[in-house]
C-alpha cells in the first residue's frame, strides 16, 4: 500500500486532470451536440429539442441512454475485430491528444517539450479509426467515405501544419504552456500578427474534422453516412464522440496558438481590468434568464429543474467572483489564474466551435474535386507563403530594427496579395476547365 502511495504521489495531479478529461469530455460533447441542434434550430427559425427537460436540457442524456440500449449490429461479412476496435482508436486518439493541452495555468496533464506537435500528431491518428472502420464494414458506402476521409485529411493536414509552423516561428517553442506565455510577452495574440495563418488553420481544421462544408466523408446525400453507415448503437455513439472530441482538440490548438490560450483579452492593459468581472457577469445573466424562464415551464418538475439550473449558475458566478476579493486572493493566490484561465480558454474554444457551426449552416457542401483544388492549389501554397512572410517579418523586426506594426503589416499585406493572386488564378483555370468540357 505504501509503495502504491509513493508511486502515485508525483503523478497525482496529472492523474486527476486525465480523469477529469476522460470523465467530463463525453458530457461536454453531449451538450455541444445539444448546442449545435439549438443553434441550427435558431438559424432555421424553429425551436429544436424542447421535450426532454426544460428547453431540451436533458436531451443529450436521453440520447446517450437510447444509444446504449440500441441493438448493436455487426455486418455479416465484416472483419469483426477491426470493426470492433476502429471506433475505439478514434476516441482514444482524440482524448490522448487533449493530454498535452494547457487548459488554464494549473490544468494540464503533461507539459511536453514537443507539446503542440504531440496534440497534432496523436489527433491525426484518429484517422485510422475512420479508415479501418470504413474498410472493415465491407460496404461500398463506408469504403468510399473512408477513402475520401483519408485523402482529405492528408491534403489538409499539410496546410494546417504549415499554418501551425507560422505561429510556432513567432513563439519559438513547441510547449503549449510556453506558447501561451510567449503571447503574453508579445502583448498581443498571434491572430493579430498572423491573421492569414489563422484563416488557413480555420479552413484546414474544418476539413480535418470532416465538418460541413467539407463533410464529404459522411455526405448523407451521396454516401448515406459515409464511413459510419454500418455502425449502430454505442459504436456509432463512439464515432460521434470522437468527431466532437476532435473538434474540441482543433479548437484548443487554435486557441493555444492564435487566440492566446487562457489569457484574458487585453491581459497586459490595466485599463481593461474590468474584464475580470466578465465571467461572473456572464454566469449571472444565464442564471437570471433561467429564473425568468422558470415560471413559464408547463410542469412543476420542469419549473423546479429550471430554478435548479439557475441556482447552479448562481453558484458558478459566486465561485468565479470569489478570487476577485482581496482576502480570498491573498489566501489562495493560484485560484484566480486557475479558474479564470480555464474560463477564458473554454469560452474561446466555445466561440471557435460556434464558428464551425455557423459555417456549417451557411455554406453548401463542396464537390470533391473542388475540395482537393482548394486544398492543393490555394491553401498549401498560401500557407507556405504565410510561413515565409512571418519569417521575413521576424527578420525585419529582429535584425533590421523595424517596429512590430510595420513589419507584420507589410508581410500580412504581401501574403494577402499572394492570396488574391492565387484565388484569381484558380478561378481562371476553373473557367478554362469548364470551357474545355471537364476532361482532366
Amino acid at each position: 500500500m505504501n509503495a502504491l502511495i509513493e508511486f502515485v504521489k508525483p503523478i497525482l495531479v496529472p492523474l486527476i486532470c486525465a480523469l477529469v478529461i476522460v470523465g467530463v469530455l463525453p458530457l461536454i460533447t453531449g451538450y455541444i451536440v445539444l448546442m449545435e441542434r439549438k443553434i441550427m434550430a435558431d438559424m432555421q427559425a424553429r425551436l429544436g429539442p424542447m421535450r426532454v427537460g426544460p428547453h431540451g436540457l436533458l436531451q443529450p442524456i436521453a440520447d446517450a441512454l437510447k444509444l446504449l440500449l440500441k441493438e448493436d449490429i455487426i455486418p455479416d461479412e465484416a472483419d469483426k475485430v477491426i470493426f470492433w476496435i476502429a471506433p475505439l482508436i478514434s476516441v482514444t486518439a482524440g482524448m490522448l491528444a487533449m493530454s498535452a493541452l494547457a487548459i488554464g495555468p494549473w490544468f494540464q496533464v503533461a507539459d511536453l517539450n514537443v507539446g503542440i506537435l504531440f496534440v497534432v500528431g496523436i489527433g491525426a491518428l484518429g484517422l485510422f479509426g475512420i479508415v479501418l472502420g470504413g474498410w472493415s464494414s465491407n460496404s461500398h458506402y463506408s469504403l468510399l467515405g473512408a477513402l475520401r476521409s483519408a485523402a482529405q485529411l492528408v491534403s489538409y493536414e499539410t496546410a494546417a501544419g504549415m499554418a501551425i509552423v507560422g505561429a510556432l516561428l513567432l513563439a519559438g517553442t513547441l510547449s503549449t504552456r510556453e506558447i501561451i506565455m510567449a503571447q503574453s510577452d508579445y502583448g498581443v495574440w498571434f491572430i493579430v500578427a498572423a491573421p492569414v495563418g489563422f484563416f488557413i488553420y480555420v479552413v484546414a481544421s474544418i476539413a480535418e474534422t470532416n465538418r460541413a462544408p467539407f463533410d464529404l466523408p459522411e455526405a448523407e446525400s451521396e454516401l448515406v453516412a459515409g464511413y459510419m453507415t454500418e455502425y449502430s448503437g454505442f459504436r456509432w455513439a463512439l464515432y460521434f464522440l470522437a468527431e466532437y472530441t476532435n473538434m474540441v482538440v482543433v479548437a484548443s490548438i487554435a486557441t493555444t496558438l492564435f487566440l492566446g490560450g487562457w489569457l484574458r483579452p487585453f491581459a497586459g492593459t490595466p485599463a481593461f481590468n474590468f474584464l475580470d468581472f466578465a465571467p461572473s457577469l456572464l454566469m449571472l445573466v444565464v442564471a437570471g434568464y433561467s429564473f425568468y424562464r422558470a415560471p413559464k415551464q408547463p410542469v412543476k418538475v420542469q419549473k423546479l429543474f429550471m430554478i435548479g439550473v439557475g441556482l447552479a449558475f448562481l453558484g458558478l458566478a459566486g465561485i468565479l467572483a470569489a478570487p476577485l476579493s482581496a482576502s480570498v486572493n491573498a489566501m489562495l493566490p493560484g485560484l484566480k489564474p486557475g479558474l479564470h484561465g480555464a474560463f477564458w480558454f473554454l469560452s474561446k474554444v466555445g466561440l471557435y466551435i460556434y464558428l464551425f457551426m455557423w459555417l456549417r449552416f451557411t455554406f453548401p457542401r463542396y464537390r470533391f474535386d473542388q475540395l482537393m483544388r482548394l486544398g492543393w492549389t490555394f491553401l498549401i501554397p498560401l500557407s507556405i507563403v504565410n510561413v515565409m512572410g512571418i519569417a521575413l517579418a521576424l527578420v525585419l523586426h529582429r535584425q533590421w530594427g523595424w517596429g512590430h506594426v510595420p513589419a507584420f503589416g507589410l508581410t500580412t499585406v504581401l501574403t494577402l496579395a499572394v492570396a488574391g493572386w492565387l484565388a484569381q488564378a484558380g478561378e481562371k483555370k476553373e473557367k478554362e476547365h469548364a470551357m474545355a468540357g471537364g476532361e482532366a
Partner: protein
C-alpha cells in the same frame, strides 16, 4: 524500474507485432500491426529521451506513411490475394538465409559487446531540450544533408506522381 517496464513492454509489443506483420494473410491486418510496431518503437524513443524523434515517428511514420499504405491497400482490391499462396517457392531458402544473418548479427553483438564501450549511458540531461538540440544539429553540422534530403523528397514526389498517373 519504470524505465525497465516501459522498455520491455514496448520491445515485446514491437517484436510480436513485427512477426504478425510478416505472417498475416490479410494485408490490412499486416498494416495495422505495422502501425502498432511503429508506435511501440516510438514509445522506445520516448524512453530513450528522444522526444522530438518520438513525435516525428508518430506524425511521419504512423500518421503519414502508413496512411499512404492503407490508402493504397484499399484502393487496389485485396480480396483476390487472400486466397493466394502467401509465401514464395524459395521461402525455406530465404528463411534459412535470413536466420543465418540474424544468427551472425547475434554472435557479433554477443561477442563484441565486451569490447565496446557500452557501459553507463550519458546523463539524460544532455539530451534536453530535445527539440532544440536536434534543430541545432540539423541546421549546423548536417545542413547540406538536410537540404539534399529535401531534394530527395521533391524527386520522390515527382516520381510518385509520374508513376501513378495514367497518362502523362
Amino acid at each position: 524500474m519504470l524505465d525497465q517496464i516501459v522498455f520491455y513492454f514496448f520491445a515485446t509489443l514491437a517484436v510480436i507485432s513485427a512477426v504478425l506483420v510478416v505472417t498475416r494473410r490479410n494485408v490490412v491486418q499486416s498494416a495495422i500491426f505495422l502501425i502498432t510496431a511503429l508506435l511501440a518503437t516510438a514509445g522506445i524513443f520516448l524512453q530513450l529521451h528522444a522526444e522530438f524523434l518520438f513525435i516525428v515517428q508518430v506524425i511521419l511514420y504512423a500518421g503519414g506513411i502508413m496512411v499512404l499504405f492503407v490508402f493504397v491497400i484499399m484502393l487496389i482490391n485485396v480480396d483476390v490475394s487472400l486466397h493466394q499462396i502467401q509465401f514464395n517457392r524459395q521461402w525455406w531458402l530465404g528463411l534459412l538465409l535470413a536466420l543465418v544473418l540474424g544468427a551472425q548479427l547475434t554472435v557479433a553483438i554477443a561477442v563484441g559487446r565486451s569490447g565496446l564501450p557500452l557501459g553507463e549511458p550519458a546523463p539524460a540531461k544532455m539530451l534536453e531540450p530535445s527539440t532544440q538540440l536536434v534543430g541545432r544539429v540539423l541546421f549546423t553540422e548536417y545542413m547540406l544533408p538536410f537540404e539534399i534530403a529535401s531534394i530527395l523528397l521533391l524527386v520522390a514526389m515527382i516520381g510518385a506522381v509520374v508513376m501513378a498517373k495514367k497518362k502523362i
